[in-house]
Symmetry: D2
């Protein structure tokens, strides 16, 4: 049923398949009067698009966004914004070899089991390609957040496999992130990681990693009891990204080994504002932002498409082997950075509007 929408006040509805005519999103709830053109959105898409560097898939797709509604004379009208990205790679390839089998750890089997019908071209609706529409929508949300609160959302590559960057979340800048093709702000470690990915690619294999994200400044008061806690909605948004397997905020899993006497964030007055001296809470307490930076991490598994022979079964229930050919992403991380930012922006923007409904 209806699971293609996210958000209550700032709401995105997503449509499209990898190799259909186009993919797109409808955004409801964007306030009127925001200056907006394709130029505000395209840069985020360019950061996600394939073919941008040697460590991502070499598939070429321009991912050019069109605004089809909701904007007039360069400003939003307050009504539904429709975004569309035409697919260029449409039906260009022969997918008949995929029709008869289920690729391991893709959605082939679950879609087949659920719907009894499957769009094999590029994975259809299961393709990570559809995240492009979230990135486009997120760019609008980001602009709103920055304009209203000066809020900046910055994500980066934190680990690749077992390689861990040395990063202080609150100090990461977009420039540092964009300084290398991996989007890891630890320049030294970044090179090591890039080499690691290149080596894995040569083996026709893939590798996972972790993306970190920090949002600041954040106004206090965003998030709602009991189920729409800010971290709950962030978790849902992040876990809806293809290939994500985990989410943690603030101290996260590491915080489970701490004592309360250490983990509790002491309050302190700072220039008239209530701040905390530590931020193990990750900027959210009891589901509501406390004004400290929000920081969280998202775990991504290794990409399922690899160029090695794998065991699987056919749609008619025979054991068989499968080996993918052609272009693939050895590591999802560099292209996932803008996706994480976009999803965070969508969640924050929704809660910003929900918050505003109660301010007089």
């Amino acid at each position: 049923m209806a699971g293609d929408s996210l958000g209550k006040l700032f709401k995105i509805t997503n449509w499209g398949e990898s190799h259909g005519p186009a993919i797109g999103a409808v955004i409801e709830g964007c306030p009127a009067g925001l200056e907006l053109s394709e130029a505000d959105i395209q840069p985020a898409l360019d950061r996600r698009k394939p073919g941008q560097s040697k460590i991502v898939t070499q598939r070429k797709e321009a991912d050019q966004v069109q605004i089809l509604s909701g904007v007039i004379d360069g400003k939003t009208t307050g009504t539904a914004i429709s975004l569309m990205i035409q697919n260029q790679d449409q039906k260009s390839k022969d997918y008949s070899n995929l029709k008869e089998l289920f690729r391991p750890s893709h959605g082939d089997y679950t879609y087949h089991a659920k719907y009894g019908i499957r769009d094999v071209a590029g994975g259809g609706r299961t393709s990570a390609r559809v995240t492009a529409t979230s990135v486009a929508a997120g760019a609008i949300a980001s602009k709103l957040l920055e304009q209203n609160y000066g809020m900046k959302i910055t994500a980066w590559v934190e680990t690749v496999g077992e390689l861990v960057a040395n990063i202080e979340p609150t100090s990461v800048t977009r420039d540092q992130v964009e300084a290398n093709i991996l989007r890891c702000p630890d320049a030294d470690k970044a090179q090591e990681m890039i080499d690691h990915i290149a080596a894995i690619r040569k083996q026709g294999d893939s590798i996972g990693g972790i993306i970190g994200c920090c949002i600041q400044p954040v106004p206090t008061g965003l998030g709602e009891p009991i189920f729409d806690k800010l971290e709950a909605d962030l978790a849902k948004a992040m876990m809806s990204i293809n290939a994500s397997k985990g989410f943690e905020i603030g101290s996260g899993f590491a915080g489970t080994t701490m004592r309360g006497s250490v983990h509790n964030d002491p309050f302190v007055m700072e220039q008239g504002d209530v701040k905390t001296t530590t931020n193990y809470s990750g900027g959210v307490q009891a589901g509501i932002s406390n004004g400290m930076p929000i920081n969280f991490k998202v775990a991504f598994k290794p990409v399922a498409t690899i160029l090695q022979k794998q065991q699987t079964v056919t749609t008619s229930g025979e054991n068989t082997e499968y080996q993918a050919r052609g272009r693939h992403d050895p590591c999802v991380l560099p292209r996932a950075v803008p996706i994480v930012e976009a999803m965070a922006a969508l969640v924050l923007c929704d809660h910003m509007l929900r918050y505003r409904a109660y301010q007089s």
Copy 2:
């Protein structure tokens, strides 16, 4: 705004504060004809209630559930079920010392900042006490899932601080979990953990830990593209539990260090069914259950209430110190086990009904 509801077809709406007259939940979408009485719900509440062992708070509260609607002659009518739990500990204590300050890492400050008004008695709406209503609702969801699919949801304590139990998720039984007061199925490690908690309690401190959960058998096909992926809805539900800081499914964060060639779950035919030989996916692929056991973990931070002096600020912006007194939970885990199970049941039940709408 409205954030107290969870689910689309099987939907819970939660109300109540720690020390008001009562707490409760309304459940919409429970099918008609399910045999149901308070006796089906009370056991789950008893597993969550305070005072049940020496390693949880010694506060006494019976947590007796009443069914106020939706059941007649021992069967559900198909209409809204109203559950209520009266608060016995209501207003029994003097909370005036809390009125003027914000307890560190509680919701005191964020509620104050958001609403400008705060229910200080026992934390009001931020109290973990309100999870009792989710546990009650979850008991109904569990009964439905077990009756329709034979589905069993089993959670357990996986780690306490740095102590890690040795557990094979798919083999854990409820009996093993209930064999000790910690609810850790690794009996040897459980004793060590219990002693650890007891020592920390003596110090007036608290400790975090991880809860694991396994759901089996699970039918294929539960979960929806794009945002209502099964793991996304599970993540949201888990991250809405008080004190949770992280969620991972299948390989989770550890999976980020794996190669695709290892992480991909090979398909294989088993007695006519499609199965996978490994389950790094955690039972969900492309957001939809694949028929393998679903397993996930939830990270809980150390309880915020500790009996040690802490730095904080007053509501009028002065630095001050605060020390809690009286009864507290040194570790949330044993009581969180039934909460995790209940939230999982609510999510699975919602998706089961969503799935059924499309089966002919």
Copy 3:
């Protein structure tokens, strides 16, 4: 499935049956800081309760509301408000004669067909009694609207059967409405209507009628394209009231016979504000309030319970006859007036909050 909730920002969730232990409602989204006690709600309930005059059912039920959550020290906390009304008339009567047959034009047959199970006592969930919880919730919404905008919602009896009162919607006051037991502000016609109802009651029969409602002053800007138009949400709310069969706004059905040159409401400046010289639009244009009074009408059919012999069928499919005994409402109108007001308040309040989310 979940159909017991109404509203997106100001949201009511309704539960309970006629003869169960209690009925109630959960209200999400009420802003913090509103002064609220049972005394703000009870007067509206008293206007709806049975036994208040000779032209309504003589059943006695106090309909005493309790606030179970969301209010502390006489003010709303911003979190979910739980309202409960205990049923006094619970299971007092023998309903066994109803078990085996379907009363004509009640919900007996449709509930039986849909759920396979039926709460025969007083109609269970289908009883108009459950509207009491909407009235209670509406009282809170009304207070908010009056406090924020000075908005007043006034409903009245416009027709009883073929008797039509002479009423100018914008000039009706609550005092005029309450001046007689029928709640018809045309005092002369009211007496005739009352006599008419009394005569019909003696025949053991019932009669329908129309309720009018006017809301003023209304700020411009409430309502949303495309589906959540203000009149669409009002229509849904009114058509969800038991026994309502029609809704019209502004010129309504009569407007279909008018020419555009007459029906169009000319704009004119009035003390610096944009007003219209006529108001055939009923205060809403293109789904959004235009600042003029909102006026609409709701048609109510004659009450289904009559004390005459009627043809029907048994649950096992035999033709039979049925005659109700005891107390009944010969005309739903006097008690429906506060229900119409309450439903209008719920809709307006929801849209007021939705509107506020976009004001800076």
Copy 4:
């Protein structure tokens, strides 16, 4: 905020403006495996399109629908279906004269007041043109309903101004409706109505009227307590159509003059099925379909665009006069017939799926 979506399981999200690049709709929740192509949708659009006869606007617009997602190899995939209709008449005209004033009884003023910005070209988002996307979505819903239940939804013109056709709702066929350009199945009266409209058109004026609709056969059990009653959802859908001012089901407003002893629909067994001998209920009792035909009426006001001089105000608050020029619809009815059918299909289809979730 988000008001562009309708439905819970079968859900439409609507976007686009009259003179932007395109309009469209996203449909979530359409079951997989339905045979679907543009050819299933286009006929409904052709019935709504402008220029189809002498009594509607002479504007030419092909309204050609494209399916952009959710269909593969001629069958629905179960995932979101995106429909788009390109606007041909885009920005072809000079609207600068409209920029400075508010046309009476259009949405000009309310959109200006709400959003502070307005798309003057063809009314932008307020244009009845956006109903084309609902018609397209409704065609898919209709196909599903007919395929699953043999359900047929037939609407027709019942009155034009004061001219009333003689119609027995349950016997109206689509062929009768399509037999004349007005879509009135009473052939004699139709000609009189057509002449009436032609005369009014010559005067540069417009006229309203009533559309009737009948749905049959309908399975029992569709509709939900308390707020999502079937007639409540129908009322909302109908009142969201541009220019609609009233809705009634079954006996409707006329039923208010009836006695209960006449209005109650006696149950009777008919070939083993429970039927009623009359159908004043209009096929719905207590919010749930009872298996009898559903019939309702929708009132449409005269079209606001007339070619006569009217009083109004400028955006800067000066009184002025306005006279529209060019093409206009003198009567919305013939083109509204397929819109009413489409909205009914969307509501029924949503409730059909909601119903199915509970059938075993």
